[in-house]
């Protein structure tokens, strides 16, 4: 049958609508039948397997009444244990009663017996071969050849650290820890190199060995298969090979397969692809291609693979999609910025461009305290940047496509900013002269001064903004010396020493990607120098001192806003900066339902290492810390590092998932490598708390409850004041889930079991960016509309709101579309990006501020917006 027809048939069966009346009528008939008979008392009720097994003698002697016989046979069909009980009873019966004569007399029974025996033999042989128990086969499928870091065996709820040399059984799940890699050798000699947080099982069937990749990345060196194929299966695709080297990266968004050598057949969805060396394919369009070198760079054999790749012509493919009009790929103003530039901002000359630049700059400064401090120092004794920009925006219409603002730092001295722009129409000079004359009529506020010859202007403190127009270039600065240096560079045709600096290269690189709004800061010069001159009173946390550049961009790609911030480090991230781990699968998100309003999740470095660094940071500022810590550990019997931090894994999720009222339904999910130790630690902490009970008489009670196969724990606090609170938690597989009640945890487990999770939700998936990553290091997801909408409507209907408040609530509802902010931790940088903004608060929507504008600006500036004539300064 053709695939299309087959699919169509399945789709139509699946989507067929059944008349509700038919269902209702059937339901009524069935329920009446059940309810009608349930009231009839019968002396002997069949409830449990024991009840049924009590009927076995009667069944064997064929003395059961017909209805009982049917029920018995029906139960036997469904219950393996009872079926075995019947078989045992039958065997024991046959030992007592010799039925050989009967067999001889009844040839049909004899034939049945032979047939059954034949079937049994075939079934047994099939089972043995399938399970690898036949001679020549072995239930051991692979062995851990080497480990760099930690690798675990995961079996249901138990997680066991396994060493190199460990033999992996058929279907046994193994998982590498964060930051760890391992090589597994299959029985046929194939090697599976597992990247960090890779989850793998190996099984053998009729057609060959299958490597099951549940998440993470592997590189497989398939040995030549004597018979059959080597398979690699993920939940969305199946690869089959004979002998080849290939990489599979499987994550939330899908799978990406890269072939280094040989041929790989890839089945995904309804499609089949044959991939050759140098080819790459993904199971989902949201997983884009990346250079194969990058894909396998984590491997210990990367150099070897790279050499192999060098034999092929097509290894690197440039990103074909170039953003549309509006993006700039270079700047002809960059050669003229000051030699010691440490801040570079480039903004497009659009309507209100300068106003927005001012806001952008303020936003940036607000996000970085170090930058803010630096700018505050820079602004002392001189004109404020805000004032300068307000003066300049009036003549923006004379300017070219881009306006560049650059500021430098000369040793410990901050230099004045310089503004550069191309002049696209004549008349700018005259316009400015008019403005200058108007401003000079107010001697106390001479904000602008036209300069005809920069060399003739003498440096003096408190200069207004000096503006010089040189042919088609406008140069503005409050400092004449800076202006003179720029003019000199212009006349020399550029070529400042800045062009040889790494920071310059950083800016050039940013342009190469296409920029609309661009902000670059040389934090190595700004933060480090500022902090280090602060006589040690403001020492940076470990690792932060390695920060090098901050690059922030915003652009519109085919109508989709994209904001990105990149924090570069001088070397591999250390200390606090390394707490965010490299992108990895987040299994904890499976416990979050699509209805969640706010979700934040991250993969983090080893919690023990983080805790050690926290101790180090606290200890450096608090000389009593070690003593206090020792006292705490002595009292509680808990070693914070070994008993609390070490059992935790590298993944954490916090979600608000469910109704907000009367109390928010939150979930905290941690990956746990050692549930037993963590549970023991919790018990010790509760005991210790109760021993050290405070004056208010508050105590904690730890209880345990079994529901089905799941164990739930509850910590209830009660105080003399009658204030009670409760936190429940459970261990599921290798995760710890905490919530305010058991129902929330149970719901989380069911969501995971049913696959009804956030990562499968259309809303969430529509927000996923198209880039080369299969996973994230951290995400922040918000979808508050369904939660806030009803509350907002209720508030509005109460009639207690002013028109202004109603307008703000309307703005809130209008801008409560779901959004996703995500982060990628790379060895020497952290990338934070979003293509949706946060509650309408992004640079794009800032431009539409006013009616139907975003909530936060409305909220913060609503008064000012309603009174446009009100001075803002």
């Amino acid at each position: 049958m053709k695939k299309e027809k087959f699919d169509q048939m399945l789709s139509e069966i699946r989507n067929e609508q059944i008349d509700e009346k038919v269902i209702v009528q059937a339901g009524e008939r069935v329920w009446n039948s059940i309810a009608g008979v349930s009231s009839t008392e019968v002396s002997s009720v069949l409830r449990t397997c024991s009840d049924f097994q009590a009927l076995i003698p009667g069944y064997l002697t064929k003395t059961l009444v017909p209805s009982r016989l049917l029920l018995f046979e029906d139960h036997m069909h469904a219950c393996v244990a009872c079926r075995r009980a019947v078989e045992r009873a039958r065997k024991s019966e046959s030992q007592v009663v010799l039925r050989l004569e009967n067999y001889r007399r009844d040839s049909r029974i004899w034939q049945w017996a032979w047939g059954a025996m034949g079937v049994a033999v075939v079934a047994l042989v099939t089972f043995l071969i399938d399970q690898g128990l036949f001679p020549g086969q072995h239930p051991i499928r692979a062995a851990v050849q080497s480990v760099d870091g930690s690798i675990y065996s995961v079996d249901g709820g138990s997680v066991e650290l396994i060493p190199a040399g460990y033999q992996i059984r058929n279907g046994q799940e193994i998982r590498t820890a964060k930051g760890s890699t391992a090589v597994v050798r299959l029985l046929d000699g194939s090697l599976v190199e597992m990247g960090e947080r890779a989850d793998v099982e190996v099984s053998r069937g009729w057609k060959g060995t299958t490597i099951h990749l549940d998440g993470g990345q592997v590189i497989v060196q398939a040995a030549k298969q004597r018979s059959g194929h080597l398979y690699l299966a993920t939940d969305d695709c199946l690869m089959s090979v004979k002998g080849t080297i290939f990489s599979v990266n499987h994550g939330i968004k899908g799978s990406r397969v890269s072939v280094i050598e040989g041929v790989v057949r890839m089945d995904y969805g309804e499609r089949t692809a044959e991939l050759h060396a140098g080819d790459q394919a993904s199971s989902n369009s949201s997983v884009s291609k990346v250079p194969i070198q990058d894909e396998i760079a984590w491997s210990r054999n990367a150099a070897k693979y790279m050499a192999l790749l060098g034999d092929f012509a097509v290894l690197q493919k440039q990103l074909a999609a170039i953003p549309g009009p509006g993006l700039r790929y270079s700047s002809d103003l960059l050669p003229y910025v000051p030699d010691q530039t440490v801040i570079y901002a480039a903004i497009p000359n659009l309507t209100n461009t300068l106003t927005e630049a001012q806001r952008l700059f303020q936003d940036r400064l607000q996000q970085s305290p170090a930058l803010r401090n630096w700018w505050q120092q820079q602004q002392r004794g001189g004109a404020k940047l805000e004032d300068l920009l307000n003066e300049v925006k009036t003549f923006s219409s004379y300017l070219g496509d881009e306006i560049v603002l650059a500021a430098g730092k000369n040793g410990q001295t901050d230099t004045a900013p310089v503004i550069l722009a191309r002049v696209r129409q004549p008349g700018l000079q005259e316009f400015l002269q008019t403005e200058a004359a108007r401003l000079s009529s107010n001697p106390a506020r001479a904000g602008l001064e036209m300069v005809r010859d920069p060399r003739a202007v003498k440096p003096m403190p408190g200069h207004p903004l000096l503006v010089y127009v040189d042919n088609d270039l406008m140069i503005a600065s409050p400092n004449v010396s800076e202006m003179q240096r720029v003019v000199m560079r212009v006349r020399e045709g550029g070529g400042s020493s800045f062009s040889t600096t790494p920071f310059h290269q950083q800016i050039v690189n940013a342009y190469q990607e296409g920029v609309e709004w661009l902000f670059c800061a040389d934090l190595e010069q700004i933060v480090v120098q500022n902090v280090h001159t602060d006589s040690g009173s403001n020492r940076l946390p470990p690792g932060v001192g390695d920060v090098r550049y901050l690059t922030m961009e915003h652009r519109d790609l085919s109508g989709v806003p994209e904001s990105q911030a990149v924090l570069n480090f001088a070397s591999e991230r250390q200390g606090v900066a390394s707490w965010l781990a490299a992108p990895a699968s987040m299994g904890s998100l499976e416990f979050v339902s699509p209805d969640a309003s706010i979700v934040t999740a991250a993969v983090i470095k080893n919690p023990r290492s983080i805790m050690e660094e926290v101790f180090q940071i606290i200890g450096s500022s608090d000389s009593n810390f070690e003593e206090d810590l020792a006292r705490f550990e002595s009292k509680t019997g808990v070693n914070v590092l070994s008993d609390l931090a070490a059992p935790l894994g590298g993944e954490v999720t916090l979600a608000f998932d469910g109704p907000v009222l009367p109390t928010p339904r939150w979930k905290l999910i941690f990956e746990v490598y050692d549930p037993a130790t963590l549970q023991s630690t919790i018990e010790k902490l509760v005991d210790s708390f109760n021993r050290e009970r405070n004056a208010s008489g508050e105590s904690l009670q730890l209880t345990k409850r079994q529901a089905g196969s799941q164990t739930y724990f509850a910590i209830r606090s009660s105080s003399a004041k009658g204030l009670n609170s409760e936190v429940d938690y459970a261990f599921v597989d290798s995760y710890f889930i905490a919530a305010p009640d058991v129902a929330t945890i149970s719901q989380a487990i069911q969501s995971r079991q049913a696959g009804y999770s956030l990562t499968h939700a259309t809303t969430f998936r529509s927000l996923l960016p198209k880039d080369g990553y299969t996973n994230f290091s951290a995400i922040f997801y918000h979808n508050i509309g369904p939660v806030v909408g009803p509350i907002a409507e209720q508030l509005k209907s109460s009639g207690a709101l002013t028109p202004q408040q109603r307008q703000s609530i309307d703005a809130l509802i209008a801008n409560s579309a779901p959004g996703l902010i995500y982060a990628y931790g790379q060895p020497d940088r952290i990338v934070v990006a979003s293509n949706s903004g946060f509650m309408g608060f992004d640079l794009g929507t800032l431009l539409t501020m006013g009616h139907n504008g975003p909530f936060f600006p409305q909220m913060l500036l609503g008064g000012a917006l309603n009174h446009p004539g009100t001075p803002t300064q």
Binding site: V30, S33, L46, R47, P66, S67, D235, G755
Partner: protein
């Protein structure tokens, strides 16, 4: 005994033996999920009478579990699986009782070629190893994801993926002959 009579007797027997007061929980479960069970059964059996039989059998079995039984952790998943397996049992039983007249099995009006194709699929499913048939039905007739199926059955997700893939290939192969002979496109009929 014909299959139809056997099932009717089973229903009667189940009813006679279900001497347990109906728990509120079962009533709620029936109210919430009888539609799901019915639809699931209908998608496999293709007729209303069989779907109703499945509905009754599933809930009578649930009733017989009694109050002492563990609370279902994933009630919907359990009932969906129960409906799939009971429906497949009916199709298998029907194949084992070829003497049963088609008219006797279904009270629905004849559905034409589309229904024949559907019945061919049901027969092919019933001939598969039960677990593979169940996985296929859950995946393609119920529209569950591999992960969800893996959780329901307590097996590896990747194993589900492999079984789904292979079963799909097998069924396409099984139905190839049917399509060659009829060359009729499938059109779903409504009950």
């Amino acid at each position: 005994m014909t299959e139809d009579n056997r099932r009717r007797t089973l229903r009667t027997a189940l009813a006679e033996d279900a001497a347990i007061a109906i728990p509120d929980e079962l009533e709620r479960s029936f109210r919430d999920h009888h539609g799901l069970v019915f639809r699931t059964a209908y998608r496999i059996t293709g007729n209303v009478a069989d779907a109703e039989d499945v509905l009754q059998t599933v809930f009578l079995r649930l009733l017989r579990r009694g109050r002492e039984a563990d609370t279902l952790e994933n009630e919907e998943g359990y009932l969906r699986r129960a409906a799939v397996n009971t429906a497949l049992d009916i199709v298998r039983a029907r194949q084992a009782n070829r003497e049963v007249e088609l008219e006797e099995l279904s009270t629905d009006p004849p559905q034409g070629d589309a229904m024949e194709l559907r019945q061919a699929l049901a027969r092919a499913l019933a001939q598969l190893e039960p677990r593979r048939a169940e996985i296929f039905a859950l995946r393609f007739l119920e529209g569950l994801g591999n992960r969800e199926i893996a959780r329901l059955l307590g097996i590896s997700q990747v194993l589900v993926a492999v079984l789904v893939h292979r079963t799909r290939q097998q069924l396409r192969k099984d139905l190839r002959g049917y399509m060659r002979s009829s060359e009729l496109p499938y059109r779903g009929d409504k009950p």
